[in-house]
Symmetry: C2
Subunit: 159 residues, 2 copies
């Protein structure tokens, strides 16, 4: 395609060098891949927003508010996502016996099964990529990303 903009052409040598863009592209591709595989296997249209809740739902059950805190989003947003998960029989919401205001969010039996399947699936995908990219390379990438995250965290966000 000859239609590339001039200033882009100027940057062409280092165009795909925009590490920021590469990061975003890879992240989206990898993530989308996982969700697609999940949808294909289970038929449940879990979206990325739901998956970000998963690490914060304790096997013993967790309060909705606690999930919101840990996930770093508002309890209202969590509430809506939990509605979906409950509808898909991935999660149950029980009244908290210790606090009449609160709910305990718990994995359902199906949810626990799905969770394990999902984790296995993600590991399989990572293994596939490892095979193609090379084990050493993937490990190097992981290490670089960890370092990068550290740097980005304490040089830009003052939180």
């Amino acid at each position: 395609m000859e239609t590339t903009a001039p200033y882009v052409a100027k940057l062409e040598a280092e165009k795909s060098a925009s590490v920021a863009q590469l990061l975003m592209q890879c992240a989206r591709l990898w993530n989308g891949r996982g969700l697609a595989a999940m949808a294909a296997r289970t038929g449940i249209p879990v979206r990325e927003a739901h998956t970000r809740l998963f690490p914060h739902i304790d096997l013993a059950g967790t309060r909705a508010t606690a999930i919101a805190e840990r996930a770093g989003i508002s309890k209202q947003a969590v509430g809506r996502l939990l509605e979906d998960l409950e509808g898909w029989d991935i999660v149950e919401r029980l009244p908290d016996p210790a606090d009449g205001r609160a709910q305990i969010v718990r994995w359902s039996a199906a949810g626990r099964r799905g969770l394990l399947e999902g984790l296995a699936l993600l590991q399989a995908q990572e293994a596939e990529i490892r095979e193609r990219l090379g084990a050493a390379e993937l490990e190097a990438l992981r290490r670089l990303l960890l370092d990068l995250r550290e740097i980005l965290r304490d040089t830009c966000d003052p939180v």
Copy 2:
């Protein structure tokens, strides 16, 4: 925080090993950093959605539809973003003399200035990160991401 969910603990050894998550986190941090710097310097609340248009606006001017195609989003979405950019005097929309239906989207004088400033700013940020992470490391990261993108592209998305 002792509240980590059990299955997360199980994965703790390789927790931050979820390369997919690391990618997303780094991408968000880096990106947010750029936008924040831009907003701080110019006061213009450019958002990520706008910036994704920039590489596709040719210095000689580009049709709105062409921008949409190149950016991979609908022309309606592009139209709304261009409204913002025009309002901020970053871009001008002129009738295309060769086609009464079409518009030519062109950088305004202020837009060209801002663009150069922005590019310089991003380069400065990348330089700062290069200094912290190491030049060789950043280059290695870039190369790995390029390879990874290639792999992700032709093993998952059949488009």
